[in-house]
């Protein structure tokens, strides 16, 4: 299974943890955003870690 889509639901607190874990996929502006055009399977482990570590559990992905 590879990651096909990554998105962030409402409720981000802008803590920046996802960007710390995987700056290739997540960027913190006012809130966290997903960088477009990234090949997600290249960063599968980091995306999953960011999702599991998110303190408000708003980082989602589909496989």
């Amino acid at each position: 299974m590879t990651i096909k889509k990554v998105w962030i639901e409402e409720g981000c607190t802008a803590c920046g943890l996802c960007e710390d874990i995987c700056p290739e996929v997540f960027k913190l502006e006012d809130l966290a955003t997903v960088i477009k055009g990234v090949n997600y399977p290249d960063y599968e482990e980091q995306i999953k870690e960011a999702s599991e570590s998110c303190p408000v559990e708003v980082i989602k992905y589909s496989e």
Binding site: T13, A14, C15, G16, L17, E49, E52, P55
Partner: protein
Amino acid sequence: MKNLKTMYMGIEIDNPIIIGACNMVTNIDKLKKAEEYGAGAIVYKSLFEEQIQLERFQMDEELTEFNDINAEMLTTHPHTEHAGPDEYLLNIRNAKESISIPLIASLNAINNDSWIKYAKLLGETGVDGIELNFYQIPSDFKKDAKEIEDEQINLVKEIRKVISIPVSVKLSPDYTNILDFIKKLDKEGVNAFVLFNSFFQPDIDVINEKHIKSYNFSNEGDYKKSLRFSGLLFNNIKADICSSHGVFTGADVIKMILSGSNCVQVVSTLYKNGLSQITTIKQELLEWMDSKNYKSIDEFRGKLSENKIDDHSFVYQRAQYVDLLMNSEKIFGVIH
């Protein structure tokens, strides 16, 4: 007008809510926002021994990268962009200049040389104080508790010789007798104690049979061990007391101050609620003080510490456990 001023490391701060060391407030924008939201002080993210060693390793690699070509190139090709700790020192200097509230550096080293060298360098950046984060997991089966404690006390003595700014020590609760250890550090002139640091704990994914990497946030209610030792230390040490770990709300801050803390450090609540939580906590504290007619923190600080309550043994020591057992039916009802 309520006065929220209190002391931390012998420094007067505008209010007792300090942002603990974390990655959330490292860039200038975030630091300024934290100040706008009303933080009393900020502890800048820790400089770790691993960073120092990694950079030394990278530097060694870079310095020898061209050895096979021409040794003279060492002087013309150092990749100085990997300054590592140097970059950290520059960042913290810039951070200090960007805000007007106190900024505290945090250091977590392993080797004595690193502790002393970087404490001195951090002290030269203009920060208001240094937090020594004694975050260490015992991993040596041959080292006893006294040896570890003596090393840490000596380390504080050595660091005290090279820096003149205030020093705090952030501790683990896992000392055999933390009261004795704190008292000894207090005699060495530590200006504040932070109770307690949060360890990253390992976990295992049983499906894939591998270790899991995840951040360990504290949870609401985790503050109780800090509260206990804050209550026991109040008026027994010269240093200021700062409670940490599981402080989420204004009510938590009030509890810590009632037990004897001068201030608190918050981290997890900011990750879970955003930096604006500082304003919320501060507002809750002000409203409570208003409802109780307190005009300053000093009016109620330590009011419920061990040496201010009538029955010393009841709340903070073992007797509460005995009481709970003896009166379990009264407290929990009869279990059928």
